[in-house]
Symmetry: C2
Subunit: 318 residues, 2 copies
């Protein structure tokens, strides 16, 4: 009986006659061969003349054929291998950016927790410095670098006026160990910010040039991937991160819809007069939406042009 | 008119006649002289014969005398100096222990946060290790010390079977930086545990030998000072940290009273059969209560004896 059907799966290309008996075939040696299955199918079709792909009942019967133990275990093994490869390949820069920005946020959280603790502890020794230096990062780095007397001198406080206790050297050392640990956190965070910059230069240079490294990463984190972010309309991108306010609005129309989400952190918005925030957010989201699509489809870099347009638009606003 | 009243404040010792006029006096030069005020009062009394301390209306009139500008500003200045000294002196080992245990707890919290983040991130690269090594500390230190291949080998996993992605070197480096930061947290924590041990050896050696360094520090933290802890009855010490359960019980008698608070973490309780937990907690709290009083009144070390008694008692329980 002449060959009728051609059927390809991960094991190989199989040719069946109309009674669903195997008449010819080619077993793939590895996944690379499977990737070139079209080529192999063509070779076989040239040999047998026109063959059809089974469907409906025919397909069902042919699949029965692979229930045979010999094929089934092989099929399972090869499928696992295939899955493994695609799991591996699914790790791309998007995921790395998301993990990195998550780590940065976690570092921010722990820096805050530990610095509050440090301030309380250090205040036993030198309360004046903790009171005067409000900025956490500055506080931590200055007590790591300078001794108590020097710090008091810089603040113009007579060291005899200090309300801090005289601690033993090892007690001070214990406090400063915590401080230098927090200092390392700050260093790590700025390292990650640089690393994010590199990653985004490859993955989403346009988006990063419009929104900045951190906001871009947060948007990616929030949407889950560059693909999903590129598929969003600009209006969604604009309010990403303000879901709570949005649903409050949808539930009860008396609440106004949110005008901006995460992009509100952008300096162009923060530095503008309050009444313009909404309009700038919309303009920003428009450009960002264009940028992320260009990035997703690997278009050329046009971040500078987009940014120039944006700045011109904002200048005309007031 | 003969001298009648003697009155001492931080400025000096003053002698007044019955019309509240100053007849004699001695000004203190510094706070050290004020500390020896009894001696100076005695000298003046010897000179004038018996003098009485003013009270009621007399005291009021004499205080009027110090409303004079000359005294008032001096009084204020010296009082500030005195306060400064007592603020400084109030920093004792109790406070350092409390700050240190607070820092340890904060480190525990941040270690947990950061390790969860690290596991997620590292799983992109090497999910098998994160799945197999459940203990956080072991996980962190092993990925800091060993390369992926080596780790997989130790777990008997063929490295071709790993589902982890092939990351670039700089991507792996970014992950490992977080790991080594967490590793430093662990090191800092164990340093603080040693430091706590030293502090408690001076402050509360008996308590520490009964309850262990960490539980002792937590009790101190919870009660606020060694003094307050020493003043507590053993039954309070027993349930310290279980306030919620206690008040639930007091509000509604159907809820049983708590049998133990923080001391439940003690190995003697944890390793005992459940039915004995309450009784061991009581015995432990009894001994701890004795220990903390000995510590507070700077008695001799008797922790070994107390612990031996305790262990005997517990052995007889079952």
């Amino acid at each position: 009986m002449p060959a009728k059907f051609i059927f390809t799966n991960i094991l190989g290309v199989f040719v069946f006659n109309e009674n669903y008996k195997l008449v010819d075939g080619l077993l793939f040696k590895d996944l690379d061969q499977f990737d070139e299955k079209e080529k192999h199918e063509k070779q076989i079709e040239e040999k047998h003349g026109s063959l059809e792909k089974p469907s409906g009942d025919d397909l069902y019967k042919i699949l029965e054929f692979f229930k045979d133990k010999k094929y089934l275990s092989e099929l399972r093994k090869k499928n696992i291998a295939l899955t493994r490869v695609s799991v591996k390949d699914s790790v791309n820069n998007d995921l790395l950016i998301i993990q990195t920005i998550d780590a940065v946020e976690e570092l921010n959280r722990t820096i805050n927790l530990l610095t509050k603790r440090l301030r309380e502890w250090y205040s036993l020794y030198n309360p004046e410095v903790s009171n005067k230096v409000k900025d956490h990062e500055k506080f931590v780095s200055s007590i790591v670098q300078k001794k108590k007397d020097k710090l008091l001198e810089e603040l113009n406080i007579d060291k005899n006026d200090s309300l801090g206790a005289e601690l033993k050297e090892k007690d001070v050392a214990a406090i400063l160990l915590l401080a230098s640990q927090i200092n390392n956190h700050y260093k790590l965070r700025s390292h990650y910010e640089k690393y994010l910059q590199e990653l985004e230069k490859e993955t989403c240079p346009n988006l990063a040039s419009i929104l900045g490294v951190t906001i871009s990463a947060r948007l990616l984190d929030h949407s889950g991937s560059l693909k999903r972010l590129a598929e969003m309309p600009a209006s969604t991108l604009q309010i990403l991160g303000a879901e709570k306010a949005l649903f409050r609005h949808l539930k009860n129309k008396r609440n106004p819809p949110p005008k901006y989400g995460m992009i509100h952190e952008h300096p162009l918005i923060l530095n503008a007069p309050r009444k313009n925030h909404g309009r700038i957010a919309r303009a920003l989201a428009d450009k960002a939406s264009i940028a992320v699509r260009v990035d997703y489809f690997k278009g050329e870099f046009m971040g500078d042009k987009l940014r120039k347009d944006l700045e011109k638009k904002i200048k005309n606003l007031r």
